[in-house]
Amino acid sequence: MGVNAIINVNDVNFYYGNFKALTDIKMDFKKNLVTALIGPSGCGKSTLLRLLNRMNDLIDGTKVEGEILFAGQNIYAPDVDPVEIRKKIGMVFQKPNPFPKTIYNNISYGPKLMWNLSKSDIDDLVEQSLKQAVLWDEVKDILNKSAMNLSGGQQQRLCIARALAMKPDVLLMDEPTSALDPISTAKIEELIDDLKKNYTIIIVTHNMQQAARISDETAFFYIGKLIEYNKTGKIFTKPDVQHTEDYITGRFG
């Protein structure tokens, strides 16, 4: 276990029914770093991501073996409430999924249910979250308009702001830019770079250049196994495993 690891995955196996989606995964995610999970479709990287905040609980017939420690506590221990875990470990999805509410209410929805906040506290939180997600200047005059009117890139930044408003420690991102145009993608990447000062970010991406650009560490998965996990610079210049090199150079996948 690394000293500054925030999440430790210890010998995790995961099953969808009889199908084994992850085999003997063992890895530590370090605090305040951006870790990229890469690999071909169906390699289990998204599955692993969704294990980290127990989103796979929503799927019937799944089974987890092994343990995942968050700040030293096994999040799959029987007495752990997944709701508590998800407050600490936020998530941004592949497709922007704002609620059909106003921009303001999208942000205030979670905090209002969780804390007893005054109107001005919520106002501050909304502003602060939107500023963190670099969306404030674009939406400060239309906070009471529906979030559905925003562009895809704005919606995704709104979703990031919504997750940040819950004051999580970790932010999980499941291909957050795959549905966005290049300019929106660049904005989100910039944002990720900014956010890692305060948050630990784990991002699944299909885009190799993106992983190389924004991550500090990269993990390569193939058919449910962790093949190689190292500093991003090392993975992309001198990987230890031939398989990794083949994937990164585009020989398969």
């Binding site: 905040n53 989103m55 929503l58 019937d60 709701v83 508590e84 875990i85 998800r86 407050k87 600490k88 936020g90 998530m91 999805f93 497709k95 999924n97 704002p98 609620f99 059909p100 929805y109 979670g110 249910l113 969780m114 529906s146 559905m148 979703c159 919504r162 997750a163 819950m166």
Partner: protein, 310 residues
């Protein structure tokens, strides 16, 4: 060798040739098929509209003559051969509101259980088959059930309460079905987004799923409202009075109701022929009432739809 297909006689060959020619010219053949199909669809739609129009026209034509302010605000007089139908209007309103108050919450809660909580498997399938069977039960059986359970066993007597409960159960399958569809149509991504924020499942359902499903649930309820207001058999034994000289004072009182009033006048009245206009007038009021309630529901629904958009 005798011909194997006696149909292939003179003329048949020519016809086949023509058809083959058209088939060869395949675009033309396809347009022809399309025209036939569209024509059939248009005629079907027309038949539906004409049927509805015919019924409404028939009722209006025969009933409009007796409609007056007095007709809808006065009690019946002279053994119900003259006067108004006010108590029946009020009674039907009570029963409809009562049925919705019973059916809507119960139906929504059942649908939430079926779509959000229950594990999709054998038990859910059995429950769903049960609900479909319930929808197919003849309404008079509901009436007898209501008589046995609410009127006799629970000692509610023939009353608004017993009638509302009976009608509520009658429209339950309609409401469950509509609510289920509406809940399922709320995108899964909304649920995920809410749960990923650390919001509990119940809060997610209550704050995100249900509000977005409400317009759809309303649509289903509209059908339920129409059915509750129009049914005769379920209230015959459980709520409806032949004649009352005062309005009900509590939910344990009997009421007159429009469909039962029509039934009584048309089959058991003192002078069936003479009261024919009153029968049509009552039917007209019933249809107008149901359409009126529907209209209110549609307005509320479209208002809610405007709020929610995704």
């Amino acid at each position: 060798m005798p011909p194997r297909y006696p149909l292939k006689a003179k003329g048949y060959k020519e016809l086949t040739n023509v058809i083959n020619k058209i088939k060869d010219n395949s675009m033309q053949w396809r347009y022809f098929k399309q025209k036939i199909f569209f024509g059939a669809v248009r005629i079907s739609a027309l038949i539906i509209v004409l049927t509805l129009g015919g019924i409404v026209f028939h009722i209006i034509f025969n009933g409009i003559g007796v409609i007056s302010w007095d007709f809808i605000t006065k009690y019946p007089t002279d053994s119900m051969t003259k006067g108004g139908i006010m108590p029946a209007i009020i009674g039907t309103l009570y029963l409809t509101v009562g049925a919705i108050s019973v059916g809507l919450p119960l139906g929504i809660v059942s649908a939430i259980y079926l779509t959000e909580y229950a594990r999709q498997g054998k038990i859910v399938r059995i429950i769903k088959v049960g609900i479909n069977c319930l929808a197919g039960v003849p309404s008079v059986v509901f009436g007898l059930f209501g008589l046995g359970l609410f009127v006799v066993f629970l000692k509610f007597g023939s009353s608004i309460l017993a009638g509302s409960l009976t009608l509520g159960f009658l429209i339950l399958p309609t409401i469950i079905g509509a609510a289920e569809e509406a809940l399922k149509s709320v995108p899964q991504t909304f649920r995920e987004a809410s749960l990923a924020l650390g919001v509990s499942k119940w809060q997610t359902i209550f704050r995100i799923v249900l509000p977005n499903a409400l317009p759809g649930i309303m649509t289903g309820s509209i059908l339920g409202i129409g059915r509750a207001a129009g049914e005769t058999a379920p209230i015959m034994f459980t709520a409806a009075a032949y004649f009352t000289s005062k309005l009900p004072g509590s939910i344990f009182d009997e009421v007159m109701a429009l469909p039962y009033h029509i039934y009584v006048l048309a089959t058991a009245g003192t002078n069936i022929e003479q009261t024919r206009p009153i029968q049509f007038g009552t039917a007209l009021v019933l249809v107008a009432l149901v359409l009126g309630i529907d209209l209110i529901a549609i307005v509320i629904r479209s208002y809610m739809r405007k709020q929610k958009r995704w």
